[in-house]
């Protein structure tokens, strides 16, 4: 069973929720409320939202160090996300994970990760489970361009292809791995074209266009659910903030490049399109803006008021019993 076509306004709300949440986290980071690293998703919102729009709650997502957007798009609440980054017991990982280890299996977020690569293999593994269990669920990996040069990409895509696993491999090509350009790190500048090495469809889409991403995800999930196998989707996008909060920018890329990409802001573009096409009224959109802001403000208050985890629990759950 395929999810219903997502309402345009919902896509807008979800992208905006990610953006406002990240902005709140940036502020909080400045206030010292976030303890470890904090990699924001600003600029890439259309990818997580466009793909997750075609996922069901029982489909599963494996993500990266830049996973806030995936968590929110898959159904983690702002409260649980912010509380996690604040290290509180109410966080989605109970404070054990922080920015890079978001877990909410109850909504299909199987983990973000501090290690580049494994999510590709794990999404293939989820596909393997679903195939064996004769279910029509799908496993999705979100990963950056940096992961493409890693052996996990090669081994994972090959296994998914030869076993026709119901998996999606979503590469967010934001053109840099930390500060290393993809054009330097990869012999072949196209990610999508690498599908050919595994006899897997590989398609490139404008990652700042939530509709384009959604259309690709719609077809890829259809293929997966109907047993036709995996798909590689390259979403060409850009992060408009530094690699991580507190890090510099503009040593490895120019202000102009960043400014140029800001003009392609996926949220503004979608908003303008909704208005232009008459899909939504300015008023509705403004109401959504306000609601999202309230939701995020509430999440920050909630997180700050939340209790710390009990040190006595530090060794719980190392083993199942």
């Amino acid at each position: 069973m395929t999810p219903a076509t997502p309402p345009p306004l919902t896509l807008y709300r979800q992208m905006l929720r990610i953006r406002r949440c990240e902005e709140a986290l940036v502020k909080a980071h400045g206030r010292g409320l976030i303890h470890g690293a904090c990699h924001t998703y600003v600029g890439q919102e259309a990818v997580a939202v466009g793909v997750c729009a075609w996922l069901r709650r029982d489909d599963v997502v494996f993500s990266t160090h830049r996973g806030h957007g995936h968590a929110l798009a898959k159904g983690v609440s702002c409260r649980e996300l912010v509380a996690e980054l604040f290290g509180r017991a109410t966080g989605c990982s109970r404070g054990r994970g922080g920015s890079m280890h978001l877990f909410a299996p109850e909504v299909g977020l199987m983990g973000t990760s501090g290690i580049v690569g494994p999510c590709v293999l794990q999404a293939a593994g989820a596909g393997y489970s679903f195939k064996l269990l004769k279910s029509d669920r799908v496993g999705v990996a979100f990963f950056g361009d940096g992961a493409v040069n890693n052996g996990a990409f090669h081994e994972g895509l090959n296994m998914a292809s030869i076993w026709k696993l119901p998996s999606l491999f979503v590469c967010e090509n934001n053109q840099y791995a930390t500060e290393v350009p993809f054009r330097y790190a990869a012999g072949n500048p196209s990610v999508a074209s690498r599908g050919a090495a595994y006899a897997m469809p590989g398609i490139a889409v404008d990652g700042n266009d939530v509709f384009a991403v959604g259309e690709a995800a719609r077809e890829a999930t259809r293929r997966a659910r109907s047993g036709e196998g995996p798909t590689l989707i390259e979403c060409q996008t850009y992060r408009t903030r530094p690699h991580a909060e507190g890090m510099g920018d503009f040593t490895y890329r120019t202000r102009e490049e960043v400014e140029e990409w800001k003009t392609r802001d996926p949220i503004r573009r979608w908003r303008e399109r909704l208005v232009a096409e008459g899909t939504a009224q300015e008023a509705e959109l403004t109401r959504v803006d306000a609601e999202v802001q309230d939701e995020v403000d509430d999440a920050v208050r909630f997180a700050e008021a939340s209790a710390w985890p009990d040190p006595a629990t530090a060794c719980d759950h190392v083993y199942s019993v």
């Binding site: 877990f103 494994p118 293999l121 794990q122 269990l133």
Partner: protein, 325 residues
């Protein structure tokens, strides 16, 4: 009781559990129609088909990582890696991912994943087909480590492993695979964390790991004559480790030798010695001794290979020396 080899015993365990639990599937090279390099899956392909007996490309990291994702989503993968050496390419997936998922998800995810294959020196297999490496799985939190020394334990421990929700490393010594012994049929389960007192004795305690158990039994033949009464303990699982049984024995004998084929530094012997020292210092009448393989990559040529491995004579010597201290 009927006699089975190690291989027959573990095949029976796997076959029984696969019949019981439809979510179990096996990943490995040549474990499909071929039935496994060590005959670990003979006959199962015809019973359960290619999805549950999945021949893999040569991408150890890949299929271990795939197994991790599968274990997180409702199935129970068995990684049949042949030799531990091959799967060292997947240690990143094991240490960073598999061992941590339960903890990082606060117990909301389980990790029912079995890693099984051979380790240990023998048959001039040389340095890429001889690694045991279990100490590192004891060092990092999250793993269960099983090293059986008899066909009966192999069956009972493998069945327990296939019902355990933690990642389990099940390591067999290739020189034990064809060893025969009595094996109970049907529902025979050996719990983790319970050592087996193989022989009771009064003058020296020997904790022997895996293949060192039969080697120690052989050594004991020559010792009885000299009135050296050895209590032989097989921990069976190294994580969890049944230290109480070891401490109780040392309380009786006052002397402890740990015999383990693999390397000494930061090894099983060191860990057991440290724990016994912490929990049974006053019971010790002599320093705890360790007998391990020599600290070198495993050479090929028979005389060299023999030189790096502690055999029955070496065990006998070590026991005599300790008894004399």
């Amino acid at each position: 009781m009927r006699q089975l080899s190690f291989m027959e015993a573990t095949l029976e365990a796997l076959s029984e559990e696969m019949a019981r639990d439809a979510t179990i599937f096996v990943l490995g090279e040549g474990i499909g129609q071929r039935g496994g390099n060590f005959r670990t899956t003979v006959g199962l392909y015809d019973k359960y088909g290619p999805e549950r007996l999945r021949d893999t490309p040569i991408c150890e990291r890949g299929f271990v990582g795939l197994a991790c994702g599968a274990a997180m989503t409702g199935t129970r993968p068995v990684v049949d890696f042949m030799f531990l050496d091959f799967v060292l390419d997947a240690l990143g997936e094991m240490i960073n991912q598999i061992a941590k998922m339960q903890y990082m998800s606060s117990g909301r995810l389980k990790m029912p994943l079995l890693l099984r294959g051979c380790g240990g020196v023998g048959h001039a297999a040389a340095t890429h087909h001889s690694t045991a490496g279990y100490p590192l799985f004891m060092h990092f939190p999250g793993f269960r480590v099983v090293v059986p020394s008899s066909p009966a334990d192999a069956k009972g421990l493998l069945k327990t492993a296939l019902r355990c929700d933690d990642p389990v490393l099940f390591l067999e010594h290739k020189s034990l695979l064809s060893l025969k012994g009595p094996v109970p049929d049907g529902e025979h389960l050996v719990p983790f964390g319970q050592a087996r007192v193989v022989r009771e004795g009064s003058s020296v305690t020997v904790v022997a790991v895996g293949i060192m158990v039969p080697r120690t039994l052989k050594a004991m033949e020559s010792l009885a004559a000299d009135g050296i009464s050895v209590e032989l303990i097989d921990p069976r699982t190294l994580a969890p480790l049944d230290i109480d049984t070891i401490l109780a024995s040392v309380r009786k004998t006052g002397r402890l030798l740990i015999a383990d084929e693999t390397f000494a530094p930061c090894g099983v012997g060191a860990e057991i010695a440290a724990q016994v020292m912490e929990g049974g210092f006053d019971d010790l009448d002599a320093p705890i001794r360790r007998l391990h393989g020599l600290h070198a990559p495993t050479p090929y040529s028979p005389p060299l290979e023999k030189a790096v491995v502690p055999d029955a004579d070496a065990v006998a010597r070590a026991i005599r020396d300790l008894h004399a201290e």
